[in-house]
Symmetry: C2
Subunit: 204 residues, 2 copies
């Protein structure tokens, strides 16, 4: 049992990770980033989730990230599922900020929700990135970085969440900020599939 | 010869590094951070230096860094040389942001001015930090991180600068933002010593 800082995005992976870390007895503080993403619903869901699970939440504004990074997750045009959703440098920036926060509150570890399915699209979700980044952070700030779900599929993560009693209504996967999940974007399709594989029909 | 991004602080180390990288034929873009530091003179000097050396300069504002980090370099009380000047997580955050910037402009490497004298006080200036951090950044974003002066003393760096014709009047070391260097704070004492060892008497 230790004090950890979790990067919480409002999606399935980091939400299940929150419940998972708490089930292991860890004291979890959450951090989320308001980086001018179009999907404002993410932040709304993170706030609800933190409230419901009584998790201390730090929202860190880094609005000018768009000056550095060009991606369809940022900016004013409507998001398109066909565009690339990689924000250059995003995980390293978020993990560095979370590490500084961890150090300031005396947490031993920063945890984030990379999964097996992020591997191909996001090089900063790969085990060799986590290993080297964690070594650097431990040398410099005495804080480790880990991604406990890095070898798990979304279906396996939903299974863990189901067992831990996660309220999936508090998670958001869709690229759009509608009232309900759109059901058509790649994130919705993945969500639906993982839920169906676990016998959950009410996947929205 | 390649395209590199340099973290420029306005101090001797990163200034000499700028001249050094240019002397090797590299195409240098500079980035500096306005993180609410008391020493506003740093940013003023960086601007002058970039102008004089015709170096493209990106100033990245990250004013809310103080929410994460507690240090006497931040905040409203007057700086005292006896306080700790370590901003937790600072180099990792700056290097991550610089890496994102490097990737967005197609630069191959991020360079910063850690020196032998930073070793004891700043763990994020040590070779083993740079090595692991660089590996992580290369895996994730295809950008290397290096610190060419990591094994050099300030006196050696001043020597290199002298040979390269650095205008040291454009560098600022003092903890305070006075008209001249105060001559009494630890940074001034180090500066003076390094200049004297190189026969430079007009060290302010």
């Amino acid at each position: 049992m230790s004090k950890v800082v979790l990067l919480l995005s409002g999606g399935i992976d980091s939400t299940v990770l929150l419940y998972y870390l708490k089930s292991l007895g860890h004291e979890v503080s959450a951090v989320t980033f308001d980086y001018g993403q179009k999907n404002w619903k993410e932040i709304k869901m993170v706030k609800l989730l933190a409230e419901k699970t009584q998790t201390p939440l730090k929202i860190f504004k880094i609005r000018n990230l768009s000056e550095l990074a060009k991606s369809s997750l940022l900016g004013k045009e409507p998001a398109s599922p066909n565009q690339t959703f990689f924000v250059p440098g995003r995980n390293a920036i978020f993990l560095s900020l979370a590490t500084a926060y961890a150090q300031s509150i005396g947490a031993e570890e920063v945890v984030y929700g990379s999964t097996l399915e992020d591997y191909n699209d996001y090089p900063d979700c790969r085990p060799e990135f986590v290993e080297n980044f964690s070594k650097a952070m431990e040398i410099a700030y005495g804080v480790k970085v880990s991604a406990p779900f890095i070898n798990k599929s979304k279906s396996e993560i939903v299974k863990i969440g189901k067992e831990l009693g996660v309220d999936f209504k508090l998670t958001w996967s869709c690229y759009y900020s509608g009232r309900k999940h759109c059901g058509k974007c790649p994130a919705c399709l993945k969500r639906k599939k993982a839920f169906e594989e676990n016998g959950i029909l009410d996947w929205r």
